[in-house]
Symmetry: C2
Subunit: 341 residues, 2 copies
């Protein structure tokens, strides 16, 4: 079991896996809890095809980092992970809605090694499966074992976060038409598009477990900072990982003309990347573009920035009492920029 | 003011307007409350274009029947309409999400006399504006002045209803590929696609106002029954109202090949409608199809069924104490099958 997970959560070196065996085990336990909750809360009823479309991407896998982080956050403030499983699943469902709808927007054919939802069920199927998962997330969140005030606060956090997710995605699309996107604009976009959902999960785990305001805020800050680091590293992975690992072609960001931190850095150095934003690129053209980004030092720059965010995130955890859960959160943060996919 | 509303809520005959002046006034007051809450809860912030896309259809008008019904339901059980305005707006936002996403699915160009959201901001803009309104609805609902338990229950009602809306829309699309849709299947689809949102609004208005279980259930039943009547009548309007009144071309259901009760009735009488489901129909072909449906008695049949549902809905209100609000609800129900658009 652990061996299989080691492959799934392959870290950069074998020595690292040994060092962080506890993190791998901890992740595995939480992923298992989240996965087991899926059939419990998301049964297939008529119209069956709609529920199959809702399950498709969820059943195709995924790292389940966001819901796992929520479960650990609950523990870190003295709560019971079992009580907040509905909230963890809600966060994973929202993440899946974003992927399903973004894949329609990006016209993506593959995700997690399978055809995207709209490739199978059409654009209408993708829109509706996403909308239904959205609603299901809010329904399931309400079943968390906590007080009604805590549930209302969690729903406010989640709904505000979902608006941020839309704003982040809107900005991302907007940036693709611009050549003057600044690093600060990029970081704001990434915070909204990716980081806040980590932060929301962590804070909701804390709020539902009756954490203090300070603890809940610290977990939010941790999620925001580590989440930005996660996304910057994700942009690096898009360039350096192979299709076999990604479950989708590498260099997609180049083809889509995404303004990642790497690209913004390269542009600021006066580099021109001809392949950028062109459809039907050959593998050779993509490799050429990646080579330029490496030579300009843009990939290393992004890795350094990602690392700074992860370190800042870990510092935010300072006010939490020492515990096994806190150690796991620190390990999570490290894992975010050491994973291979 | 009332004169303008009389035009907006034009009833079938002048004598009817005189009789139901109280209903027209009551509607106008509630519509005003809902409209005034829009800028208060939905401010335009960066990225401005996203918020403009979210506002577009909302600002284009609409009858606001669902949120108005919610406000009256609160009054009917002794609550304060002011306290539940956020919930009323939430219901209207969800209704708008459905319209925006359905317009993408149907490839519709016009709505409420204006280009549809995706015609202006593209499919990606339509998907994201809808998603953001979805989240905003849940956020705004949480601001209703009521106890946390009542808010959690309202959120459960709304989230479950949103799943029904998706199921209903999925069924509607599915039915267009079938020739053997039964009346019972159609009614189930319409209940999910249209009626439950009326029902949810009415029940939420009651729950937030601390109504008894029985009162809340009666208002739900009223909404479900009257909502089905509303939709059957809406299908009739699609055939008999002019483009100037509808804000979109008449006979769209014929072009889209929708299995409405009218069509199901005609098919059961062995009638064939050649124009059905064909794109690029001329006005003459559409008129021809409508003439056939009239001659088969299918339009009259649908009007009778709609009327039965409205009557059953009014009966469900029996357990509520007599009040001005209860009278308005009865008037609402009558209006649903007497309006011109």
């Amino acid at each position: 079991m652990i061996e299989a997970l080691k492959n799934q959560y392959a870290s950069i070196s074998d020595s690292h896996i040994k060092k962080d065996d506890i993190i791998i085990k901890a992740l595995y336990q939480r992923v298992k809890m989240v996965n087991e909750s899926i059939p419990r809360f998301l049964t297939i009823t008529p119209p069956d095809e709609m529920y199959l479309a809702m399950h498709h991407l969820l059943d195709a896998g995924g790292k389940r980092l966001r819901p796992s982080a929520l479960l650990v956050a609950a523990e870190a403030v003295g709560g019971e992970p079992e009580d907040v499983i509905p909230a963890a699943l809600a966060i994973e469902l929202i993440h899946n809605v974003c992927l399903i709808h973004d894949d329609i927007i990006d016209g993506a054919d593959m995700r997690r090694g399978y055809p995207t939802v709209h490739k199978i069920w059409g654009v209408s199927g993708g829109i509706l499966a996403g909308d239904a998962l959205y609603s299901k997330a809010f329904e399931i969140l309400s079943y968390a074992k906590s007080g009604p005030s805590q549930i209302v606060e969690s729903m406010q956090i989640l709904s505000k976060t979902c608006i941020d997710l839309c704003e982040g995605q809107w900005m991302d699309i907007d940036f693709q038409k611009r050549n003057d996107v600044t690093e600060s604009e990029y970081l704001q976009m990434v915070e909204k598009k990716t980081a806040v959902l980590f932060a929301a999960g962590l804070k909701i785990g804390a709020v539902l477990s009756n954490a203090s305001r300070e603890e809940a805020q610290a977990l939010w800050d941790f999620g925001c900072l580590a989440g930005v680091g996660f996304q910057i590293y994700d942009d690096v992975i898009d360039l350096i990982a192979s299709e076999g690992i990604l479950g989708k072609p590498e260099g997609m960001d180049i083809i889509e003309g995404k303004r990642t931190l790497i690209v913004i850095h390269a542009l600021s150095k006066g580099v021109t990347i001809d392949a950028f934003g062109k459809k039907d690129l050959t593998r050779k053209e993509i490799s050429g573009a990646i080579k330029i980004l490496k030579e300009t030092g843009s990939i290393d720059y992004a890795l350094n920035v990602a690392s700074s965010f992860i370190e800042a995130g870990k510092s935010a955890l300072g006010i939490l009492p020492d515990s096994e859960a806190k150690k796991i959160l620190v390990g999570f943060a490290d894992y975010m920029i050491e994973r291979k996919y």
